[in-house]
């Protein structure tokens, strides 16, 4: 195997890892906020990809412009979903029931996409679709680079928002100790709702990034939810930095394993990592003290 092929795999792995990192961050955020397992996260991802594709087909403009609409709409949808559905679940069985609830939402989205856009595979034709950069002999497609930059920018914004804003402090306090948060005057219900909104906003950005370079169809989300769930468990449930690190490592591993194993078998790296985590370190590898055991 040549050196440039290896380099190319690593670069592609990093680019893919960036998208995984953004999506896993959203997924682990819901879990951190209220122990919700959000199966519908990847369905919203595909929904956003469809909206980007549809926007591009109808207007001919760059699909990334659709973010102006999808990000606020998804944020609102996440807020309403938390306030009207998830917060009504009984606390005692919330995690389990959230799987059922969000599974149903995923099915509804998948069904609606099939109904409106049919099951036909769709793909955006971008003017720069065929361009690639030559990095020390490795060919790096420009679309993948653009998608990565979009995802990385969103992840960085999420990090800065959580770390340095008043809302971010309120959300972290709500995650770490809801009762104490309420006692310092934080409206934890509304904060949790906004947290869900943020999670869905990341799905909107991720979906748009995905649409640049993927063939999409309504049931594609099943393909994504497994790896994303594995990533957040490996990273330590509830930990965003943990999810980002695990996403990068697994993205690169997957990309490297594609060389000897092919695409289908390379995917199993997520499940191998998941089983290893559950067996040896159920609290995850990168989550720190806060991470939950599954």
């Amino acid at each position: 195997m040549s050196g440039s092929l290896l380099l190319q795999s690593v670069i592609l792995g990093v680019l893919l890892g960036g998208l995984y990192a953004l999506l896993a961050a959203g997924l682990t955020l819901y879990f951190g906020i209220m122990r919700v397992v959000m199966i519908a996260h990847s369905a919203f991802l595909i929904l956003a990809a469809y909206l980007a594709w549809w926007f591009n087909r109808e207007t001919g403009l760059d699909p990334m412009l659709s973010l102006v609409v999808t990000v606020p709409v998804f944020f609102l949808a996440g807020f309403l979903m938390q306030r009207l559905l998830v917060s009504r679940l009984k606390p005692l069985t919330l995690t389990m029931m959230s799987v059922l609830l969000t599974f149903a939402i995923a099915l509804i989205i998948e069904g609606a996409l099939g109904f409106i856009f049919t099951g036909t595979q769709r793909r955006i034709q971008l003017p720069y679709a065929g361009d690639s950069l030559n990095v020390f002999g490795a060919q790096v497609p420009v679309v993948k680079l653009v998608a990565f930059v979009l995802a990385a920018f969103a992840l960085l914004s999420l990090y800065l928002l959580l770390k340095y804003t008043r809302f971010g402090r309120a959300l972290r306090a709500t995650i770490q100790h809801p009762e104490a948060a309420r006692l310092v005057g934080i409206d934890t219900d509304r904060t949790a709702g906004y947290g869900f909104g943020l999670g869905l906003a990341t799905a909107a950005i991720g979906g748009t990034a995905l649409s640049l370079d993927a063939t999409i169809y309504p049931s594609l989300h099943w393909h994504w939810i497994g790896p994303l769930m594995a990533i957040i468990v490996v990273g330590g449930l509830g930990s965003i930095p943990g999810a980002a690190i695990a996403a990068m490592l697994l993205g690169i591993s997957q990309s490297l394993l594609q060389l000897p194993l092919g695409a289908t078998w390379a995917q199993t790296v997520f499940y191998v990592a998941l089983f290893a985590t559950l067996m040896f370190r159920p609290q995850g590898f990168f989550g720190g003290r806060l991470a939950q055991r599954f």
């Binding site: 008043r166 402090r169 309120a170 972290r172 306090a173 770490q176 100790h177 009762e179 104490a180 948060a181 309420r182 006692l183 310092v184 005057g185 934080i186 409206d187 934890t188 720190g288 003290r289 806060l290």
Partner: protein
């Protein structure tokens, strides 16, 4: 009317409980005068935490009233209770573990907009609890139990509360740290805050408190000046775990917890 009241906090004839289970509090009345530590003692499960949850609005009482500095605040939820001057330090550890001490303390001022007032208050709590200033940039979850308690005290004092509710601040601490924490409770009072303290560690708490109340079967059974309760032999046997042989030790750190055998 507001400033006429003799008490900063009054819980009047409170009945409260959880869900459909039997009532935990059955006609409880407690009053906290200014610049005073009132200590409510009682065995595990007596309803001590429940009293504080009712006072801070975490649990709505079935009946009775809550009056803060002459203002009836019954029915206010915990998020808004701060505005009326009540701060609640929960039982066990309640720092935000993955945040720095600075972030924890500043979150105590979440509802305050005036940056100058916040800065002054930070200086005040750092002076009152030196450890808070020393560990300012460290993650709160990495501090020892006693240090975390002081961070929680500092956080609760950021809003300049009239009354602080302390739920078993000595829980899980060794005797030396316990002494230190009670010393801080006395300093909070001397700095002008009234304190309603609940404790299972009754003898040690009554040594710090000005007024003691014994909680039994959901109401205040006996109350009076703390030194008198400590000296009462009948009470010592019943509620404080052993005879008050050590009452000469007031203010010092009792190395051993009181045991029954003496």
């Amino acid at each position: 009317m507001a400033s006429e009241s003799k008490y900063l906090l009054e819980l009047n004839d409170i009945e409260a409980g959880y869900g459909r289970a039997a009532l935990v509090l059955r006609g409880l009345t407690v009053q906290v005068p200014p610049a005073t530590v009132v200590c409510l003692v009682g065995p595990n499960g007596a309803g001590k935490s429940t009293v504080l949850k009712v006072a801070s609005g975490m649990l709505a009482p079935r009946s009775g009233s809550i009056v803060v500095d002459g203002v009836d605040v019954t029915g206010t939820n915990s998020q808004h209770m701060l505005k009326h001057g009540l701060a609640h330090v929960l039982q066990g550890h309640s720092v935000f573990r993955e945040m720095t001490v600075a972030e924890n303390v500043l979150l105590g001022a979440f509802t305050i907009k005036d940056q100058k007032a916040i800065d002054e208050r930070v200086a005040f709590v750092q002076n009152l609890f030196p450890i808070v200033g020393e560990r300012w940039k460290q993650l709160a979850g990495l501090l020892s139990g006693g240090q975390q308690k002081q961070v929680e005290f500092a956080r609760s004092l950021m809003v300049s509360p009239k009354v602080v509710l302390l739920d078993e601040p000595s829980m899980g601490l060794d005797p030396k740290t316990t002494a230190k924490v009670f010393e801080q409770v006395a300093r909070m009072r001397d700095a002008g805050t009234a304190v309603l303290l609940v404790e299972q560690n009754a003898r040690r708490a009554l040594e710090t408190a000005d007024i003691g109340c014994v909680l039994d079967l959901g109401r205040v059974h006996i109350s009076g000046p703390a030194p008198e309760l400590l000296a009462d032999p009948a009470l010592g046997d019943l509620y404080l775990g052993g005879r008050p042989a050590d009452s000469a030790h007031v203010g010092g750190s009792t190395a051993e917890p009181a045991t029954k055998g003496r």
